[in-house]
């Protein structure tokens, strides 16, 4: 696909195939969407204050330098003065304030970005000079720098925020306007996003200038086999979100990069305020009734490790001691369920108690990949063996939200990437926006609070270890496996880099045939 124009390839086009099925459902704005894909694609347009290097350290980006106050509550950024949005507006302290204020504004309906910006803790942003900005929090907020390095806290042109903020979720050429290395020049929902080089770009991370390729064409191909197919046939240069089962078939010309997601592994969330999971014994039984090792190993061809904790092994604060601590044990599961009083059996072998079936309803959000479907089948089958019925409903986003809102399910599932263990706050905190298990435990809230303000690395690690152990006993979340973002790039693609989440970065990418 990449067509070499000039000798330096400055007219080159790089085609990048991604899954992207849900982008059109109002997920084009990382400031409001909680989907990974949203940040992944809009990284081309959105720059951040700081850049997080592969070793986890931070380097300047839109901010030349920064300072954290003694009490850990105020971050002062010294901004570059040569940055402009692609619509010509200057990037300055006011733009930072406009964006951050928008994110936390309840009318914006932002969940993830708002939470990364501290949520309730966010006290405000002050432009103390034209290019100096102070972000303050009501209490010390350690994860902020990491948050500030993500696309979720990237910057839209203030003009857009003023005039057409409501169109940002839908996205479009004159709406999706940032300071990034590319400009979104065309967008056809469910089809493709075309990014064109921002020729003026000179403020990239680590001194990156305008990209080498002229056009980055993002093809939205929900079918994994099709993504693999276009990569093999040369129609696409880079394909991400490849499932392990196609990797072997890709051929030698394709370079495969797999990067384990940091953050919360793919897990099941057991709703403890609803139905049978109110009983901790039932939750524990559930977690040991599944032969996770076998299922994950077979279904993902040994490519992905099974998860033992609610943090992935590459996440700072990971508690390695949990490994092997809750192995598959059907007998134990049966014993626990007996103890919990589910001793009768229905005609179909499902356990009963007081005329009620031991049944849990799992809502899953579409689209669902084949391997996750296979995993779910295995889970259902294993649980049926101990007399536990799982009814799984596959729901389209709108229908899913109808159930998710009032929390009328027993189980739901997802993984959540994040480099900072603070992401647990959104999943286990009483007010967490992803608290699908409906955990409400003052001790947990206290731990999360302390993790937030602790600036000492060891102290934070200790806090998050406690949280992981709390879950291991309490079983609000059943982690299943740690997935990787698998990206294949065709021969001729050079200079592709990856961020900490394994997403390709195109600052230096080039393509030649």
């Amino acid at each position: 696909a990449g067509s070499a124009g000039d000798a330096d390839g400055s007219d080159a086009e790089l085609v990048w195939a991604i899954e992207g099925a849900n982008l059109s459902a109002g997920h084009m704005d990382p400031q409001t969407s909680q989907l990974d894909v949203s940040g992944m694609v809009q990284r081309q347009v959105l720059d951040s204050l700081v850049f997080q290097e592969a070793d986890g350290s931070f380097s300047p980006w839109l901010a030349k330098s920064w300072e954290v106050s003694e009490d850990g509550r105020t971050y002062t950024f010294e901004l570059r003065d040569d940055v402009t949005f692609s619509d010509g507006n200057a990037f300055d302290a006011a733009a930072v304030k406009a964006n951050f204020d928008r994110i936390v504004d309840p009318a914006t309906k932002s969940a993830q970005a708002a939470s990364m910006l501290g949520g309730e803790l966010y006290a405000g942003t002050e432009a103390t000079g034209e290019h100096t900005v102070e972000v303050s929090f009501t209490q010390p907020y350690a994860p902020f720098l990491q948050a500030a390095s993500t696309a979720q806290l990237g910057f839209w042109s203030p003009k857009v925020l003023e005039k057409s903020a409501d169109q940002l979720d839908a996205g479009g050429p004159d709406v999706t306007v940032g300071t990034g290395p590319f400009v979104l020049s065309e967008y056809t929902a469910d089809q493709e996003i075309v990014y064109t080089r921002n020729d003026d770009y000179a403020w990239g991370p680590d001194g990156a200038k305008a990209p080498k390729i002229k056009t980055l064409r993002v093809e939205l191909l929900p079918e994994a086999s099709v993504r693999a197919g276009v990569l093999s046939s040369g129609e696409a240069d880079v394909a991400t979100q490849l499932p392990p089962n196609v990797v072997a078939d890709l051929g030698d010309d394709v370079t495969v990069t797999a990067k384990e997601y940091p953050g919360l592994p793919y897990s099941l969330f057991l709703n403890e305020k609803h139905g049978v999971f109110a009983d901790q014994k039932v939750r524990q039984a559930f977690s040991v009734a599944i032969d996770i090792d076998a299922a994950v190993d077979e279904i993902f061809f040994g490519e992905f490790p099974r998860a033992w904790s609610i943090l992935g092994p590459t996440t700072p604060g990971y508690d390695k001691s949990l490994e092997g601590s809750w192995p598959f044990d059907a007998d134990k599961a049966n014993a626990l369920l007996d103890e919990a009083g589910w001793t009768e059996r229905g005609a179909d072998g499902i356990r009963m108690k007081d005329g009620q079936r031991l049944s849990a309803r799992w809502i899953a959000w579409t689209p669902i990949s084949d391997d996750r479907t296979a995993l779910a089948n295995a889970i259902q089958s294993d649980l049926k063996d101990v007399g536990f019925e799982i009814v799984r409903e596959k729901l389209e986003p709108a229908a899913y939200n109808e159930q998710y809102g009032p929390k009328t399910y027993d189980i739901t599932d997802w993984d959540f990437s994040g480099v900072d263990a603070d992401l647990l706050r959104s999943h286990l905190g009483t007010d967490g926006f992803q608290n699908a298990s409906q955990v409400s435990d003052p001790a947990v809230d206290d731990l999360l609070e302390r993790g937030l303000s602790a600036s000492d690395t060891d102290e934070r690690a200790q806090i998050y270890t406690e949280l992981q152990q709390w879950n291991a006993e309490h079983v609000a979340i059943v982690p299943l496996y740690v997935s990787s973002l698998i990206t294949g790039s065709a021969k001729g693609v050079d200079g592709l880099e990856y961020d900490l989440y394994g997403r390709p970065l195109f600052y230096d990418a080039s393509v030649s045939r």
């Binding site: 079918e223 994994a224 086999s225 499932p243 089962n245 196609v246 078939d249 032969d291 076998a294 299922a295 190993d297 077979e298 279904i299 579409t366 689209p367 084949d370 391997d371 479907t373 296979a374 995993l375 779910a376 089948n377 295995a378 259902q380 089958s381 294993d382 049926k384 799984r392 409903e393 596959k394 389209e396 229908a399």
Partner: protein, 269 residues
């Protein structure tokens, strides 16, 4: 002639097997259709698993057998509902006052203007996905066709000479309607319905394929086909057997329907 007989025989025999599978799946199935065994996932057809296993190690043969009830059931249910609704609405329209009849037929014509599959999709959009909703959607999509046929047949029969003859002989209107008109209409509808079952099965499979029908792990042919399409190169059997099941069932229904129609039209063979 003989080939056609043989074809008809095969069709009847195949549908008999499908019916057996639908009513008593456990007689034919070799495994539990829901039982996974990840260690033997993606096994090729062989002695242990006649049609191989899928990604979760479930037995494809048993799933095809157990899927018969749902896949064919939706088609049958939808067709039966459509025939009943069509018969009632169409024959009522056929005997009502001209204005009522004209209005009813205009509405039907407007519905007929839309592709059946699009109507089914829209109905599912309104009702939400699910087995029952798919059956309803397919019914609604098919019903205008039956209404129109029932109405035309009622009209034709109402003025047909043999009905008129009965009337002249003094046979009462209700009796004329129930003895001469209704059975005639029902006869044409059921012939159409035999062919319509095939369409309904296909439409339902299409909706399942799009993920709007029954959901995993329930065995359903359209869904199974959809589930295997990403591993076609590596495990063709996951898609191929349910696909064949759909095709053969629909062919059989169509062959029988055509034979019935040929008989109804009086030309034998």
């Amino acid at each position: 002639m003989i080939a056609r007989r043989v074809g008809l025989g095969c069709a009847v025999a195949f549908l008999a097997v499908v019916a057996l599978a639908a009513l008593f799946p456990d007689l034919l199935a070799t495994h539990d259709p829901l039982r996974t065994d990840v260690r033997s996932a993606l096994e090729a057809p062989g002695t242990a698993h006649r049609f191989g296993t899928d990604q979760s190690g479930r037995d494809v043969f048993s799933r095809v057998v157990h899927g018969a009830g749902r896949s064919v059931g939706i088609g049958l249910l939808a067709t039966a509902l459509a025939v009943v609704a069509g018969l009632v609405l169409g024959s009522l329209s056929g005997v009502s006052h001209r204005v009522v009849d004209a209005a009813a037929m205009r509405v039907t014509d407007i519905l007929l203007a839309f592709p059946e599959f699009l109507i089914a999709l829209i109905v599912v959009a309104v009702l939400g996905p699910g087995t029952v909703n798919v059956a309803i959607a397919v019914t609604i999509a098919a019903v205008p066709v039956y209404i129109r046929l029932a109405r035309t047949q009622t009209r034709t029969l109402h003025i047909a000479e043999h009905v008129e003859a009965a009337r002249i002989l003094g046979v009462g209107p209700v009796r004329t309607f129930t003895r001469h008109v209704m059975p005639g209409v029902l006869g044409s509808l059921s012939v159409l319905a035999t062919i319509g079952i095939g369409s309904s099965i296909l439409a339902a499979a299409g909706l399942s394929f799009l993920g709007l029908g029954p959901s995993e792990p329930a065995p359903e042919w359209g869904l199974m086909l959809s589930g295997g399409r990403n591993v076609l190169g590596r495990a063709w059997w996951i898609s191929v057997f349910p696909g064949l099941a759909i095709t053969l069932t629909v062919i059989s229904a169509t062959v029988i329907g055509r034979a019935l129609r040929a008989r109804a039209e009086g030309r034998r063979g």
